[in-house]
């Protein structure tokens, strides 16, 4: 079985980001970029399935700018066999990504697609679900445990009320939650080998997918800064403040 695993380049979640001066977007100039942490978990899971002899090949797919090659190389260093980059200039919406992936699936014929449950930059949590619908495949989202059982997957999902275990028939789409696994460190020799693994770069125009955005961003703003608290000495003082300063009672 071949596994397709998806990888997104996002701003490093450990690094501060700023809103651009014209409030139109996030300013990514000089910001350290990284592989989306949920995608990293997806790669790890796919590689573990290969190491367990369940998967025959792990193909990593990224859709983004040319620099996304760096994140694909990270996936290759972790153990993916080859990479595909669909090169695009600007940001893409989840549906566009799902449709492009659909085309890749048609070509690659994987038995399982593993994605992160969301990317830490836009937090949409849409691509996996949309992809499953487009394909008409089973979907298992927010996975915290994955077991392959013949042609099926026993999958534990993290849901609001606790854990839910579902059984999916393959081919299927799985999106990973944080507890699914702990991604490995890529070793130096593996990073070196990754530089020589095949990585196909394909222009986005070749896929014939309509890229027209459906969503318009009106404004990007930073959250309000938290106001400092104040310790008061008595209830009377509190009531007084609420009356005079805050005007709430």
């Amino acid at each position: 079985m071949k596994i397709l695993v998806m990888v997104k380049r996002v701003s490093d979640p450990n690094v501060m980001i700023r809103v651009s001066a014209d409030n139109s977007s996030v300013d990514l100039n000089n910001v350290k970029m990284a592989i989306n942490p949920f995608c990293e978990i997806a790669v790890e899971e796919a590689v573990r399935l290969k190491e367990a002899g369940i998967a025959s090949e792990v193909v990593a797919l990224s859709i983004g700018t040319s620099q996304s090659q760096e994140q694909l190389r990270t996936a290759l260093a972790m153990g993916a066999d080859r990479g595909i980059l669909i090169e695009s200039e600007g940001p893409l919406e989840s549906l566009t990504v799902a449709k492009l992936t659909q085309k890749v699936i048609a070509e690659e014929q994987p038995g399982l697609v593993i994605l992160g449950k969301q990317s830490t930059d836009t937090d949409n949590s849409q691509t996996g679900q949309m992809l499953a619908s487009l394909m008409g495949w089973a979907q298992g989202t927010f996975a915290s445990k994955l077991e392959i059982d013949g042609e099926s997957i026993n999958l534990t999902r993290e849901v609001d009320s606790g854990l839910q275990t579902v059984r999916l028939s393959m081919p299927a789409v799985v999106t990973c939650d944080l507890r699914l696994n702990e991604p490995r460190f890529a070793s130096l020799p593996n990073i070196m080998k990754a530089k020589r693994k095949p990585l196909d770069i394909k222009p986005i125009a070749d896929f014939g997918v309509d890229l027209t955005p459906r969503i318009k961003t009106l404004m990007v703003e930073t959250p309000n800064e938290r106001q400092g608290g104040e310790v008061l000495s008595s209830v009377a003082e509190l009531v007084e403040k609420l009356k005079t300063e805050k005007g709430v009672i």
């Binding site: 490093d12 450990n14 690094v15 501060m16 700023r18 001066a21 100039n29 000089n30 910001v31 350290k32 702990e182 991604p183 490995r184 460190f185 070793s187 130096l188 020799p189 990073i191 070196m192 530089k195």
Partner: protein, 550 residues
């Protein structure tokens, strides 16, 4: 058992010195059509993540390395358009020194205001194009030696070790990287460089090394106040007359400025806090007028090696070389170290390549490097500025400055005598009882800020569950000696709030709390601890600041 890999050359640290070494080696290899294997390890999460400098760049070395740097898109986008030098008298007043009275080494025509972080990232691209393998996120943790005592290479640190020293799940042992020659370019007070200097007695017969701590912030300012290429330097207030140092404000590109303060670590009052001095300094009208209405983008700090030629250790030893600020090639009279660090790396590359051409085996002591360095403009430059620092230490900012004016402008640095300062920085700290506590003003949250919100902007990050990388030789010294005699200076000289003296749970004594996650890898603690009890070692790779265009 660790795995090992073999290379012709291993370089520790992807900064200007290390990457210049790498590029020059590959250029020569290509010219001679010789295969050369080269590996650069870098502890930062990416190239540039730990790079921290002013910076005004003198492009001399870069032009030698890549004469076509402009076509290659090197990020030198802001030529210096003006130099202003001030002598700050107090919180309000400053005297602008006429250019004719400024030591000529401090003139900046032909130089560029740059982000050294971005220049380093660009250098890494050039190196990779030349076939150099660069591995960010891998810290060189240990020097490896052959049986005959020559350096054999380095070992990278283990990944996935818990705070208790035990292996966690996902543990990955370090790798041994063996090389014919290993080049150490870790920057100021490299923790391996320090070991090499001690082991091979490289500093025998030279003056004691001196250091400064540089703290700076990157600001987005009001476009109306932005003057691209303006370089402002200052001396005097807020530092007292016994404390040397200098302030700077550089106007870069994209409506950004950097503002910073360098405090010589030879200061004597343990109550002094370089961070607090810097925050106070920004309220001077010369800085405040520019910063007001702007927004702080980033913050960081780094120690710098400033002893110059007098304190420059021997840079070669069997199997390797020490280059750049790891040795101390900064030209203090120019307050610039990038071009000299790059040049030292290039000379190292030429020496190593020549050696490998005649002797395949490697592992020799490259005394030819010392000679080649002496014949280069780097040596001439450092020779001329050898008195600059010691003069400031001996005579103070004003008379030292006057001496430097005469030395640099009239005698071009060729006065027939050399000044020395052999009292190490850590020993210059006086006991608290002899000094007056300093009351610093509270930060206003607009121009000045507290330490923790500042550290937050450095994007520093360390895996929490790992052994503390700030090691103490003796656990009792911080409270007994540093707190008892010096009022706990590490809490003040650390620009990141790593060291905190807190009451013990029993509230009967003090104890030292080390917040290692905050560390900016500036190395000041390793230098200034009056008891020399703190040893900085590398944390797990990728840990440390994530500087943007610093």
């Amino acid at each position: 058992m660790r795995e090992s890999m073999e290379f012709d050359v291993v370089i520790v640290g992807a900064g200007p010195a290390g990457l210049s070494t790498a590029c020059r080696l590959m250029q020569q290899a290509q010219q001679a059509e010789r295969e050369l294997t080269l590996c650069v390890v870098e502890k930062g999460s990416e190239v540039g993540a730990h790079i921290f400098s002013g910076a005004v760049l003198e492009p001399r070395a870069l032009t030698e390395l890549f004469p076509d740097w402009e076509e290659r898109g090197a990020p030198l986008n802001t030529p210096v358009t003006g130099d202003e030098i001030y002598l700050f008298q107090d919180a309000e007043r400053a005297k602008r020194i006429p250019n004719s009275l400024v030591p000529s080494s401090m003139h900046n025509q032909g130089n560029y205001v740059i982000s050294l972080g971005n220049l380093t990232r660009w250098l890494a691209e050039q190196a990779e194009e030349l076939g150099v393998e660069i591995f960010p996120g891998f810290a060189a943790a240990e020097i490896l030696y052959h049986d005959n005592g020559a350096v054999k290479g380095i070992a990278t640190g283990d990944m996935g070790v818990g705070a208790d020293g035990k292996e966690k799940s996902g543990f990955m042992p370090g790798m041994e990287l063996h090389a014919k020659y290993t080049v150490f370019s870790e920057g100021c007070r490299g923790h391996l460089g320090k070991q090499l200097i001690a082991k091979f007695a490289l500093d025998e017969g030279v003056d004691t090394q001196h250091y400064g701590i540089g703290i700076k912030e990157l600001w987005d300012i009001d476009p109306a106040k932005h003057k691209p290429g303006l370089v402002v330097h200052g001396a005097g207030w807020p530092l007292d007359k016994d404390t040397n140092g200098g302030s700077f404000l550089y106007h870069g590109e994209n409506n950004q400025v950097v503002v910073g303060l360098v405090v010589d670590l030879s200061y004597s009052n343990p109550y002094l806090g370089p961070f607090d001095e810097f925050q106070k300094m920004k309220h001077h009208p010369v800085f405040k007028d520019t910063l007001e209405g702007g927004k702080r983008v980033s913050y960081g700090a780094r120690a710098m090696t400033k002893g110059g030629l007098n304190a420059l250790p021997k840079m070669c030893f069997p199997g390797g070389l020490l280059v750049g600020c790891d040795a101390g090639t900064l030209n203090f009279a120019k307050i610039k170290g990038t071009h000299t660090a790059m040049k030292s790396g290039m000379v190292a590359a030429e020496t190593i390549f020549a050696a490998l051409q005649t002797d395949e085996e490697g592992g020799k002591e490259l005394n030819a490097f010392t000679e080649a360095l002496k014949d280069s403009w780097l040596y001439d430059e450092l020779y001329r500025s050898r008195n600059f620092g010691p003069a400031m230490h001996k005579f103070g900012t004003f008379w030292g400055g006057a001496f430097n004016y005469i030395d640099q402008n009239w005698f071009k640095g060729k006065l027939p005598f050399t000044l020395h300062d052999n009292n190490p920085d850590y020993a210059q700290l006086k006991e608290a009882s002899e000094c007056t506590p300093i009351e610093y003003p509270k930060p206003d949250g607009k121009i000045s800020f507290d330490k923790l919100s500042s550290v937050f902007l450095s994007n520093t990050n360390h895996e929490e569950d790992q052994p503390c990388h700030l090691t103490l030789k003796d656990d009792t010294v911080p409270v007994k000696r540093n707190w008892g005699l010096f009022a706990g200076p590490e809490a003040r000289f650390c620009p990141a709030g790593v060291y905190e003296f807190v009451e013990t749970p029993e509230k009967d004594d003090m104890q030292l709390q080390i917040n290692a996650q905050n560390c900016l890898h500036c190395k000041t603690c390793d230098i200034k601890d009056p008891s020399q009890n703190i040893t900085w070692v590398v944390p797990e790779g990728t840990g440390g600041p994530n500087y943007p265009n610093m």
